[in-house]
Amino acid sequence: MNVLAAGPWSAYSRDALAKAGAARISLGSALARVTHRAIHDAATEMFENGDFSGLGNALPGADVDKMMD
């Protein structure tokens, strides 16, 4: 059984879904939409308020590089 950990179901931990009997937990588009949230919020601040501080939270390029092996 697959359980989608999105929307209200994101409130449940892996342990809770394990107890319910799940064999796998998928994310659907939820993780992608978390990045869309980051884009949306940072871009809104930039274009509406001229505030670039949201970009200060970026994952360093060197950290991303390490995961591209």
Binding site: M1, A23, R24, S26, M67, D69
Partner: protein, 201 residues
């Protein structure tokens, strides 16, 4: 010995001890998720559609989805599963063809849902089950293992209730689906009813 990626994928499906399937949307996100611990990767039809500047739900062709899935297969060394909407056709034989093409593309499995995008509703239960039966038969005919996930999307889509979802999932199980999936049940009690259908699926 030829690697049986489908068998590797099947082996990590353990009821009560779930793995986290990392739905990625490009080679870089697939690599990130594997580096951070994902034992398997899947596409996401919605996330993929968004990368193409399109809306979710029947806007991506089978060729596009397969090409995208191949990009993820080439990027990582873990099983990759395709989130392949309704199998890219109404006809059960089209679902079977999608299974064969997915196996040939190096995927470890795919999911097929019961949403009829053109009609804006769910396939009738009988047709939905027949589509899974034909797809499962194609999966069993593959030279190596292949994990077919049968989805009942009508709760999430607002097309039917939990009782209809249960009836469909029972039909899918009997038709040979390897794993069952009804996105977004309304309560934990509903989820437990779903899980009870097939403890091993």
């Amino acid at each position: 010995m030829t690697r049986d990626i489908g068998a590797e994928f099947r082996a990590i499906h353990r009821p009560g001890d779930p793995f986290i399937l990392g739905n990625a949307w490009d080679a870089g996100t697939a690599k990130m998720l594997v580096a951070l611990g994902a034992p398997a990767i899947a596409t996401s039809s919605a996330a993929h559609a968004f990368t193409l500047g399109r809306k979710d739900g029947g806007t991506v062709s089978r060729d596009e989805a397969l090409t995208h899935a191949c990009d993820l297969v080439a990027a990582v060394n873990v099983p990759v599963s395709g989130d392949f909407e309704n199998g890219y056709g109404d006809d059960p034989d089209t679902c079977a063809e999608t299974v064969r093409l997915s196996f040939e593309a190096g995927l470890a499995g795919i999911s097929i849902e019961d949403t009829n995008f053109e009609a804006g509703n769910s396939y009738d239960r009988e047709l939905a089950i027949e589509r899974i039966r034909t797809a499962a038969s194609a999966a069993r005919a593959c030279p190596r293992d292949f994990v077919l996930v049968a989805r009942a999307d009508g709760i999430m889509e607002g097309n039917y209730d939990i009782d209809e979802a249960i009836a469909r999932l029972e039909g899918y199980a009997e038709a040979g689906a390897d794993c069952l999936y009804a996105p977004m049940p309304k309560t934990m009690g509903d989820l437990q009813r779903i899980v009870a259908i097939g403890k091993s699926r």
